[in-house]
Symmetry: C3
Amino acid sequence: MFQAKIKADFIRTVIDATAILVDEAKFKLTSDGIYGRTVDPAHVGMIDFKLDKEAFDEYECDEDTEIGVDLEKLKSILRIATGEETISFTYAKDEGRMTVNLGNLTRKLALLDVSEMADTKIPSLELPAEIGVPITEIWQAIRAAEAISDHIKLIADPESFQMIAEGDTDVVELKLTKDQLYTLKCGEKVKSMFPLDYLSDMIKIAKGKTDEGTLNLGNNFPLKLSLDMANGTIKIVYLLAPRIEAE
Amino acid sequence: MFQAKIKADFIRTVIDATAILVDEAKFKLTSDGIYGRTVDPAHVGMIDFKLDKEAFDEYECDEDTEIGVDLEKLKSILRIATGEETISFTYAKDEGRMTVNLGNLTRKLALLDVSEMADTKIPSLELPAEIGVPITEIWQAIRAAEAISDHIKLIADPESFQMIAEGDTDVVELKLTKDQLYTLKCGEKVKSMFPLDYLSDMIKIAKGKTDEGTLNLGNNFPLKLSLDMANGTIKIVYLLAPRIEAE
Amino acid sequence: MFQAKIKADFIRTVIDATAILVDEAKFKLTSDGIYGRTVDPAHVGMIDFKLDKEAFDEYECDEDTEIGVDLEKLKSILRIATGEETISFTYAKDEGRMTVNLGNLTRKLALLDVSEMADTKIPSLELPAEIGVPITEIWQAIRAAEAISDHIKLIADPESFQMIAEGDTDVVELKLTKDQLYTLKCGEKVKSMFPLDYLSDMIKIAKGKTDEGTLNLGNNFPLKLSLDMANGTIKIVYLLAPRIEAE
């Protein structure tokens, strides 16, 4: 038996965070919280989140269970709740539907067959640079870059972090020195290029929910973006594949 | 001679309430206020409103008169006024146009030929159940239901009121017990099903303007929704035809 | 060398004001501020603005220079700034790009070849009537008029100012008497008709930024609309060609 009650905004955060990559996802309900690991169909972006049981007002899970969720359907019920309203979930393992309660309103949500849904394995990556970045400035840089390009270079060196997008004639550049960053651990210069659309969606999830994100970067390697929200009870890790830079 | 001055929001309420059903409507100007009765072309929804002369800042009507109004045209001038601004109407029986004043701005609004517009007769209905419902919760249920179906069942019994929508796999249900309702007068269980689009439009009119609506229901019978707004000076009654439930 | 720092809202005002007429414009950078004179491709509307150096937080311009700007590109970077954020511009005459800074973000903006862009000559007009109009009421009249027509008559006489739009059946009229206007200098009655779309765009620029606009009118002559904003450090003058009225 799974029974849980949570502020609508908290569950919305992990659902929205997953929905930028896929329409359907498999979640794991466990005694210490909900886990979700999903890769998008193009295998460019990946999410690995944990919604800790501490994020919930009430939480009970007798037995580890996997459920398959149509994210758009779940979003349609979350959309109705105001951010501060709490929403309850009840699920018994043998049922094909999860019961979602919002006040006196009940939605019986059909679940998807998880046997058809592949497990997502998170690759283990050695990423030499770690940068604690201010989300607001990263977001401004991404919006400025979107006007002129569809990809962006991320560069870290021991003294600074840079984002550079180049259009046919124009350039957008954000440069943050060590003292303008939360943290900067970088032995030698690393540089990778990423698709702006995915990165924009990922940073948008953090906007307004946390001031800081942690980036891990390598040389022409995927990036890892770690976001801690709701006092650390929501942990989202995104991986994003690099684009090969044309020389 | 008809001369009247009213807060823009009040006249907007009855015009918007009528415009969910028709593009053109016939209104009756009388010494105690304005009446409008209209049925939509598909004969599914019907409105019967009274805008009492007490709702007006100034009101004068020498002689009962019927006018035909192009609602979109009237809305285009109402849209310009802020909610608290007052708007004045002047109409002399032999003129083909009504004069609408908003501050120093004058709009001469051509009226429609009422001789071409049929009278709407309000059927007299015996509806055994009466339920005083909270508009906010009804609205949440309608929005949740719209995600999965295009019709909804309304059920009253002596102890509770329910709204149930069924999709292919999902269900939305609102259950309000007697103590969660403003009133509940119901001898024996009644049930009727209604088109969600019409019901949604009708409840939307009430949203933010009144906390309570009164529903009258029968068994596979039309519903009657009565809304009292602006301290009872605006009374709107909607009738909505049922859908036959496929067994 | 040109170097300047300004509140984002101020530069946005003159860019938006020009962008209602053209996609690309030539601006003149001088020691006492920035000038822009542009006519739209149809030669119906014309703008002549000055953004005084007093509007800037910092301003330095060694040598008069003309630059060609893709307005949509510049707007894409201005869009990212909040109204109160300051934005910096740096330009050295021999460079093909202007550097725009917003916090730690840098946009290198490619400029256009001014040798291909014609000078705009502002015609000298003798306009006998001058009317100081309240922008809010003019804006309401324009919105009301747009619902019924695509042009509007402006009429001044020694005692009042009027705007009249006539549809097939409806009329919109704004009448402001001398005491409802900021100023009214008018020897004898003048009347001209103008296209609503241009006039609407021009008045919209002023809305919320200044209470008053000054109109100069003649008989079947262009109008001149003068707008003073930001304590007189932004001066915008629009000229608008009349429409010939069908008798």
